[in-house]
Amino acid sequence: MRQDVWKKAARDLVYMQGQWALWVVGIMILIYAALQLFSREPDLEAMSAAAFVFQGATIFMLVCGILSCYGFLPMLISFGLTRRHYFLATAVSALVLSALMMAGAAVLSVVFSLAFGFGTGGALAFAESASLLQVPVYVLIIYVYFLAGWLISLGFYRWRMWGGFPAIAAALLLMAAMEYVWNFNTPQPFFTFLSDMNQLPAAGLALTVTLLLAAGVTYGIRAASAAVPVKVK
């Protein structure tokens, strides 16, 4: 059925980006293992492999999002798919890829924790604040990072710098919102000013905000890409 062609495209996108993701996860795991063996930094010792991979995965997904409109949109349109197919395939493949990356990292986390005692804060802990940070939340957040990249990609692709720079601002706000609602205390200096602000207290509220932002941005991307002209070059 032609209507299902987007599922085929989604599988292909997962496969293509999954190959890159394997490298990213592999390298992150090697670095993690080396740090666990040789570093005496308490935060790092407490951190699980999943939490460590998660940090690299956010940047990886951001980059995948940025590449999307320039790589995958023209490719799929040239194979006779519609923009709607492209949107569905990209959104679903990003979610699946996020889930696969974090599921793989979680399995490795448990193995490292049980076999070598890595990650003293817990098998899936992020430093000391382990209570809220479970794999589904990791998945959702790295998907939001993908959306941030996708937003930038679409902004530049459709409106050049007039859309690109506002899209960068919107993406930064989106990422800052993630930092704020999930209080990751990541080492990115741009966001440190938020660490003194009152943090949102409940995981439920954080999850709700994240879901609303993800849904809103996903909808916005669909609206902006529904009739996007495809460049002939």
Binding site: A9, S78, G80, V230
Partner: protein, 292 residues
């Protein structure tokens, strides 16, 4: 695609209008030549047909359906242009297999046989291929897709002359085996004119003419002879160009030649000659075209 109807199409990039008021109908599985100078609006028109962009005005229907974002129409259209493969790590084989996954009628075996015909490597990354070999891959992707509407936008310009010749032969053979609507955009008019069943000539964003090739060629002729007699013959006719050498003058006229005209010309010692599509194209789209 058996019926394409474009009605007062227009397109603009920002404030610059690149196509205006273009109206035509393509009926039947034929080969159409879209010819025009650089920047005339050929690629923009083809982008509209391939749903790469939406018209800013007018309507476009394919078999009665607006093709933009229509899954069936877009799957039935293949649009090949000179793509930038400078960052493409995948090989031609990967691209052909991908096309076979998505294109309903793509014939992978035929595509692989074309790889031999055009002699391009299947397993080298695309960015390492020469421009001519990349063009051959594009041609292969277009031909093997067997899409009801197949559009080639000047992708053959990077090919060398023997490969272009192979492409023309292959196109005709393929059209015989699997007829479809083919649109060839080009400014290599002289070597491709025999391929076209019909010609659409575009200039400065407007459609100058759309006619069957044979009828169009019948409308253009040259008249050579004594200057005075030529001027008398040409009076009141659409003269596209004129040249004078000493007392001899030659003009190109764009008008149907009747038997009476021919007889009158011979009586006055004038010589009537044919004009090729290339000359008509140059003279119809050149500066000062159709001044008299």
């Amino acid at each position: 695609m058996s019926h394409i109807q474009a009605d007062h199409l227009s397109a603009a990039y920002k404030k610059e209008r690149v196509l205006h008021d273009v109206t035509f109908t393509l009926s039947g599985e034929r080969i159409y030549g879209l010819i025009g100078r650089n920047g005339a609006g050929k690629t923009t028109l083809l982008s509209l047909l391939a749903s790469y962009r939406r018209p800013d005005g007018g309507t476009l229907l394919m078999d009665g359906t607006d093709p933009f974002e229509d899954a069936s129409c877009m799957a039935s259209t293949v649009f090949m242009y000179e793509k930038d493969y400078s960052d493409e790590q995948d090989s031609a084989r990967v691209l052909l297999k991908l096309a076979a996954r998505y294109r309903p009628a793509f014939d992978l075996d035929y595509a692989l046989s074309l790889a031999e015909t055009f002699d391009f490597p299947l397993d080298k990354p695309m960015h390492k291929l020469s421009t001519g070999k990349q063009a051959a891959v594009n041609v292969t992707l277009g031909l093997a897709a067997r899409a009801p509407l197949t559009i080639f936008d000047e992708i053959y310009t990077g090919m060398d002359a023997p490969t272009r010749d192979q492409f023309y032969k292959e196109l005709l053979a393929e059209q015989e085996r699997h007829p479809r609507t083919v649109i060839l955009s080009t400014h290599l008019v002289s070597e491709m004119d025999y391929l076209f069943d019909e010609v659409l000539m575009i200039d400065d964003g407007q459609l100058l003419l759309h006619e069957p090739t044979d009828q169009l060629l019948e409308r253009g002729f040259s008249v050579t002879g004594p200057a005075g007699a030529v001027e008398q013959f040409a009076e009141g006719r659409r003269v596209l160009s004129e040249q004078t050498l000493g007392g001899v003058k030659s003009v190109t006229i764009f008008e149907e030649l009747t038997a009476k005209d021919t007889a009158a010309a011979y009586e006055n010692g004038l010589e009537i000659g044919p004009v090729g599509l290339q000359d008509l194209f140059i003279q119809l789209t050149g500066k000062g075209a159709g001044v008299s």
